[in-house]
Subunit: 229 residues, 2 copies
DNA sequence: TAGATTGTTAATCGATTAACAATC
DNA sequence: TAGATTGTTAATCGATTAACAATC
């Protein structure tokens, strides 16, 4: 409705990465709001729901364009559309999962990623006992077929749910086959060619960061390994 | 060996959070190095392995104390010890997992967190069909027992691998029972009392961030949904 | 002594946020 | 007009990194 400003968008401003990391969170909240039939939202409300500063919300949203109405707020549906457009979620990015263990299965079945723009189109494993079994609606394929599959189907994103020892080699194969982004769950730092985007999710690292904060808390009182209440 | 500088450490400097987030990565790399019998490492080498700037490595390590040797580098074993000390990993932080689905199981079994200082001491689920089944060496307990268990055993950290709809309520219970930190896998922003540390891992958010980068890449060439090679 | 590498300074860059004019 | 809220400016804060004296 407001529209058009940069509908043609000939040259694209780069959005600061801190803002890119928050936009999906706003999107999530706005989608939830829409289910409660909320049609308008202010930066204050959105900030409260996202646990951030209202000025930050306005600044982040300003990178999308000037889509708010002073004195009123933002139209939820329109903002959802604009965030999706900016993040490239109007396109579906074909995704495959490598590793059909608990984690790979959780991601494939549980993730509900299809609804968020990331259809998991295949899952692979090297273990012949897993090949042929079902994970959600998919049949586990042999790792040997992975490279061809990526090339033939134009897969964009690879999710690595394999052991650390295998991660680099699988990553190399995926990149050679044309994948542009990797989501890596193995606790190793991957070496990649330039231009490939990697995001790491290391559950051990997350816990260790929490451990640090637990320690800080324990410090005020005395013994760290005791419960304080 | 160098030791003692702040072995008593009466007042503790706060380490910048960006550095806290990287220390576990260095720890991982150093542990791997130790397996290859490497006893000394320079900031340059460590930086290459961690994919960061060498000056950043030195600065990060300087928050631990001055444990390097000019002209030589750092002793791997000693650095491992110091990072563990700083992150509070010399203590074991009792951890429970809530939700015994694929994700909860992956975390419990797969994680190998015990070896990294976070023994998963129990797993809970609300589904009576899951209660009593085994996940690794643990038996799934009924969610009803969770609060008592946390209080009696002095659990420090709760991992939320439950559906979005249940996450806030489980978080409230855990906090009331005395847990200090939460690792949340549900795609919701949790509301917590002050002093509780929360880290969120939202796999959908990670993918959406990758989607943005895929889009940027696609832009130089033309059509985003086609494969470029 | 010559070579190597740390630890730290200081410059730079990016992120956050209070404040407020613009405007619905 | 009065009240509300955006969009943006500018101040501040924190993170990054080049450079180099200190020193093994």
């Amino acid at each position: 409705m407001t529209a058009s400003n940069n509908a043609t968008s000939p040259r694209r401003r780069r959005i600061p990465s801190a803002a890119v990391n928050r936009l999906p969170v706003y999107l999530q909240i706005l989608t939830d709001l829409q289910l409660t039939e909320t049609s308008q939202v202010s930066s204050d409300q959105l900030a409260a729901l996202a646990n951030v500063n209202a000025a930050k919300v306005r600044k982040d949203l300003s990178y999308l364009g000037t889509y708010g109405t002073r004195g009123v707020g933002y139209e939820v549906a329109f903002l959802i559309y604009q965030i999706k457009r900016e993040l490239g979620l109007l396109t579906e990015w074909k995704t495959i999962v490598v590793g059909a263990g608990n984690l790979g299965s959780a991601i494939t079945v549980n993730g509900g990623f299809a609804s968020r723009g990331f259809p998991v189109v295949a899952i692979f494993d090297v273990d012949p006992r897993k090949v042929g079994t079902h994970v959600g609606e998919l049949t586990v394929r042999n790792l040997d077929e992975m490279c061809d599959f990526v090339r033939v189907n134009g897969v964009h994103i690879g999710v690595l749910a394999v052991p650390s020892t295998a991660a680099q080699s699988v990553a190399d194969d995926l990149i050679a086959a044309g994948v542009g982004s990797l989501l890596n769950f193995a606790p190793v730092v991957l070496t990649t060619t330039k231009g490939v985007t990697v995001r790491n999710v290391d559950l051990g690292v997350e816990l260790q960061i929490l451990g640090y904060h637990e320690q800080l808390r324990g410090q005020a009182s005395s013994q760290p390994n005791r419960i304080s209440v």
